[in-house]
Symmetry: C2
Subunit: 468 residues, 2 copies
């Protein structure tokens, strides 16, 4: 039996109140279409109101189409159209239907078995016990000082980058930091991204109403002449390990870009160093920021790759001049990351857990990568496939021998339960894109699946022609 | 004695390595200016390298000005200019000097004793134990479904707002959500904010390169005629409890605004309901969103006020048409809130803790407010002061009787250890602003201090003329 309270209804009449309660429950789907409502008499008795009140409320609901009556049977809830509207929005975002794949080689999700839950929970508990006052104190716009100090120390130790904590700005993901950079640079500036590249970067610039050009890459990275002719002011690149090609920019090209950036006082480079932690062999090439004596490079990195994609903490190092401008002009923006997680991450870094975690992840992913590549090389059907990678990052590319278009290729993979993207997906100008190159992101792959995944990859490809 | 490792230095020569190590430590401030460096001989012995290596490194450092030698005395660290640069950035943001007040009646920080740390910690622990897989899974752009469902239920129960979880967008603070709304509406739209108002709102619009007009308020809220003549497309208001005036918009004005918004299909209202939880007496006026049958109101609320300013979780309810546009055009933006906190908040709301917390906070703040107002009314020196408030929110205004300008007034308060703002601070056009009206935000005030604070307030004001 439906039950509603008639206390505190103010000046509203009883029947209007009852009518609203029932209407809301119908609209909300709490009372399903087709359901029989209580009889007027029993409802009135139950609610302690008069039968006439229930009658008036039912009459109003009938008039508005929320319920209907069948003589001798009673009152029933209508199948209202809002239900349709609801389903429409729901299906638009797929809240209901999260597709499942045998292997998702696109997602940046991380296997939950890799996250150091016990350590994280322990540190969180410590933070809550020790820092109740700090946890409730609004931090500077750039974030909690202790975390910025820990990051400064980490940057110096592991990347050779010297940065004052005041130059480090913490934000809820690099996407948020890009939007801060746009505000800092000005909406009249021309931004430039890599072609091919991580599609989100140019989408973010465009959705923020600034011009974003695309600079073609050669084997060394973005082509300097093209940067010049694009009239770009701000160049956004990932020199340590480009996604998706895997290109590592040699030092000579880095100097060429530094030479470009110092050619005008309005130019800046954004060095997006998102997965440089995952270098499996050889010495890491120092970041451009380390060579940046003129202080014109914004260095950016994120813990979403190295720790978890669902802990939204990223940071950037602003050149001193931009840092001053940031505090002066944008300092009113609140830091977007929770204090709880900032203090926990500070402990995680300062106590050496972050370094251990990275080392463990690196070893783990090296094993996955090695067994993946080993399985590909030992698969007869893939003997003409070409692996391109640079001993780094959490992805590699695989050029396969097929007549299928990239769209057909992806469909063939999907039929085998494998979700992949192709290199051509990362080009704005698809006509120039190499065909038949699959991008394999293994950050989310259970290691015991590699052999099966490679078999399914081989099975998906119709062997028909030699590789060009 | 300085100590450096010479393992893994690759192809770098020993002296270059030593030189870099020392240089970096000087630049980083680890070796202070004026410090005497070890003698070449003892340093060489200690590091297990030859004296000539140390000599070469020192020579290079001298050549570059990082160190200097005093004959017969030794080598000393120079006072390098970068130190100056560092201090400049540091002081720009006040990382070093967080001012302390006897009472800060401006800050939105919350007393740490009010936050339910034990419950929050317990729920966090449960989430970590139960949801390790979900915690590592990237949620939809709008946030974790379970949290959006809990918010939908809460909105229905406490505000009478019906919203599908798909219409609810979770973001790291309302400031972030404003920027999403701008992208959704378009950069060509004219936004309008209240005059007076929370200064950040117009700052955010302006820093995002969109036009922001200011609409004067009368006793009922923003003046409809002024909205029309401003050519605004999007009106940003806080009808439940305006900051800083405390105005609660009557229903008649709400209908006037709804009439305006339906006058063109490009118009929208942003209903910023940031502190409506804190209504101490009387019935809360329903949000405009509840009256919004044409689905043209974006309802927005935040847990930064009701829970903690340092847990960055806010949400908005998008009209169905805007929700579809959002998923279609901006769905590539990642949700900015950590999964850990989204799942914890979901439990906090669903298990009834949020409701209990709000009730406890409301009772607590009512006590603070009552004792504050009681002390003012009983202070002889403040007998002409006028309190304006609407039994709601976490602030009230106090019109005082003084010849001082507002700037002098704030200085006089500061000398007594009290930080306040004046009503005039919230006007873009300060000439129109009422003078001598102090805005008192007591969200951060220890209750045992109220009497002393009122004494200090009285003491700060030179009584010189009757209130106009």
């Amino acid at each position: 039996m439906l039950s509603y309270s008639f206390a505190n209804i103010g000046s509203e009449s009883l029947y209007v109140h009852l009518y609203s309660c029932i209407k809301n429950d119908i609209l909300k789907g709490k009372i399903a279409a087709g359901l029989k409502l209580p009889s007027k008499r029993s409802f009135a008795k139950n609610l302690g109101i008069s039968v006439i009140t229930v009658e008036n409320a039912y009459a109003q609901l009938i008039a508005e189409g929320f319920i209907y009556s069948i003589p001798k049977k009673g009152y029933f809830v209508s199948d209202i159209e809002t239900v349709e509207g609801k389903e429409k929005i729901k299906s638009a975002i797929g809240d209901k239907k999260a597709a499942k794949y045998y292997a998702d080689l696109v997602s940046n999700s991380v296997l939950h078995t890799l996250f150091p839950f016990a350590t994280w929970a322990k540190l969180l508990r410590e933070v809550i016990l020790e820092k109740s006052e700090e946890l409730m104190t609004v931090p500077p716009c750039s974030g909690v000082l202790e975390l910025r100090e820990a990051i400064a120390e980490h940057l110096y130790q592991f990347k050779g980058i010297r940065a004052e904590p005041a130059q480090i700005i913490i934000g809820a993901g690099t996407e948020y930091l890009y939007s801060l950079i746009i505000k800092l640079m000005g909406y009249d500036k021309v931004f430039a991204a890599e072609e091919p590249g991580y599609g989100k970067i140019s989408k973010i610039y465009k959705s923020s109403n600034v011009v974003c050009k695309h600079i073609n890459m050669d084997k060394k990275g973005v082509v300097p002449q093209e940067i010049v002719s694009s009239n770009a002011d701000v160049l956004h690149i990932s020199p340590s390990h480009h996604f998706p090609t895997g290109t590592v920019m040699p030092v000579s090209r880095r100097y060429e870009l530094l030479s470009w950036v110092t050619g005008s006082k309005y130019r800046y480079i954004i060095e997006d160093d998102f997965d440089s932690e995952f270098r499996f062999s050889g010495r890491a090439i120092p970041p451009i920021k380390e060579l940046d004596v003129m202080d014109r490079v914004i260095y950016m990195n994120t813990f979403t790759k190295s720790l978890a994609p669902t802990i939204r903490i990223s940071y950037m190092v602003l050149p001193a001049a931009l840092a001053e401008k940031y505090y002066g002009e944008l300092g009113f923006y609140s830091c977007t990351v929770s204090n709880f997680e900032q203090y926990t991450l500070e402990k995680f870094i300062s106590n050496g857990h972050f370094e251990n975690h990275i080392n463990r992840m690196r070893r783990y992913y090296k094993t996955v990568r090695d067994s993946f590549i080993h399985a590909i090389k030992n698969n007869e059907a893939l003997k003409n496939a070409v692996i391109e990678e640079e001993d780094a990052g959490l992805h590699f590319t695989l050029r396969v021998d097929t007549d299928m278009t990239d769209t057909e290729l992806k469909k063939a993979f999907l039929r085998n339960g494998i979700r992949v993207t192709c290199l051509s997906d990362y080009y704005v100008n698809r006509e120039n894109a190499p065909k038949s190159v699959i991008v394999i992101n293994y950050s989310n792959l259970e290691p015991e699946k590699t052999d099966h995944v490679v078999e399914r990859i081989a099975d998906s490809i119709k062997i028909s022609s030699k590789i060009q």
